[in-house]
Amino acid sequence: MSRLAATFEELTRTGRKALVPFITAGDPTQDFTVPMMHDMVKAGVDIIELGVPFSDPMADGPVIQRASERALAHKGSLRKTLALAAEFRKTNQTTPVVLMGYLNPIEAMGYEDFANAAQRADIDGVLTVDLPPEEGQECTAFLKSRGIDTIFLLAPNSNEDRIKQMDLAGSGYLYYVSLKGVTGAGHLNTDDVQNKLQQIRSITGLPVAIGFGVKNAETAKTVAGIGDGVVVGSALISKIEENLDNPEQAKREIVALLSSMRQAMDS
């Protein structure tokens, strides 16, 4: 069983929901990332989404754009991200790591080479924002044959056909984008998300993680009441940005925020 499937099975067994933090690999510096990942695990997260820095993050808001820019300024890249994930794996064999990013770095490496490298780094899943299933068959097949899940997005305007397509193409979990917009934007509407999740669940048995618009313990709790997992990204990266001169402080604030989310979600 894949690490992602095992994680969701265990969560179901214990009646809990997945807390899924997103940070960009190499932000603000390369040596920040791996200790941060371990600290997040201690704070009670279940899956880590590791952002691959990209020069043109078209679906991201300003906070994650700047995270990419900082990581790239410190020679961040897909290769470097894989190396960081491999380093994390040396001392953690249980927490799934999902790479999240854009297609061009993967194109540059080549699909097969990427799948091999991801396997060597013991990556569990890959979410490529600008690779919808109809364009992604080749890449998905390479990953699947190496036991790596491909996570696809669903949006508020995804229709029934689209949800069916994702159910067939995706594995591990589906990532529901709770609002029309970029990462870090606006506030999610609970009723809308609830209604859409009902439709999604009537079509797919895959776990559904919900992201975009999760800012604090309160929204995390609300979202946990609807989906199988809660993704939080911009709110964490804001802590890095507010403490660029003091990365240890950033770590403490991220841990504190995640702990409060964990507590709220479990209570």
Partner: protein, 400 residues
Amino acid sequence: MTEKYNMPDQRGHFGPYGGMFVAETLIPPVQELNAAYQRYLTDPDFIAELDKDLKYYVGRPSPLYHAERWSRELGGAQIYLKREDLNHTGSHKINNTVGQALLAKRMGKTRIIAETGAGQHGVATATVAARLGLECVVYMGAVDVARQSLNVYRMKLLGATVVAVESGSKTLKDALNEALRDWVTNVDNTFYIIGTVAGPHPYPAMVRDFQAIIGRESKQQCLDATGRLPDALVACVGGGSNAIGLFYPFIDDESVKLIGVEAAGDGVATGRHSAPLCAGRPGVLHGNRTYLMADDDGEIIETHSISAGLDYPGVGPEHAWLKDTGRAEYVNITDNEALDGFYALTRMEGIIPALESSHAMAYTMKLAPAMKKDQIIIVNLSGRGDKDMQTMAKREGIEL
């Protein structure tokens, strides 16, 4: 080619290029647009309205002008200029914005967004938005806002909101990123008018089809004036909309050479250029697979060109396909060579070309002397140089 050219396929692929590489929230609007475009492409009422606008609002057909003095001076092929600079708003960009705006109206969209580099597409979009009474927001890199301030003022006069984009390299690619972010946020009421043959399917095909009037007219005008087809077509290529507009109706005419001219900036060897077809590699950006300026890690490299309109790290996917199949040839012209082209046309024919179009002029100066006097080159004069007066004056040390 024995079979008639018939690209792209149903999903927008030109061989390995093109496609629909967008985030999930943009899939429904892109599909909705494709459905509307397929429907109206052959709708007689739509075509009649578009033709009327092109004739009475844009001022088409644009002349095919025989540059006799310049041809004589260069001593080779006869040079004909396709005068897209004479269109309303001063470039070929309006052919496409008129078409997309009519689509937006039929789709019931109330808000228009666009990206712009040199500002020509932004002005052409603000113009049609003003005419239809639609809200208009134009994204423009902060660097381009500074070097094309005249066009920024024009857009504001026309009632558009111009947003200076401060992220990344602050040029055209970043303006496109920001327009995509706006679209993803406002998909319900917003129509994104992309200005070039890039973006996800159906944009590359749709923009080409709206610009193909350049080539259709040129073909007929050339036959009328000379009784035969041209030997070569020359056009500058940034995203590549004016070039594909000229080339497309000639693709099955194998005797006609198609030559796209990219911006070499300081020279391709220096790495400071905007010539992905000449010196890039295939990759995926802004919704399609095409040749890109990217490093070994797949990160997009900053581009350089004297002309804001060519300062883009990608190129329309159909150009990538035409390059790989050998049907079109892609060359490059440096900033300094483009300036030679700019001055030559200005002094020889009394026509001041845009800096983008000057790249095509500069290549024509290399090509024509090597051809026979009874041969014909059609060069796309895609825009007029008024917008570049500040840039040129500054280079000459003159304060305007």
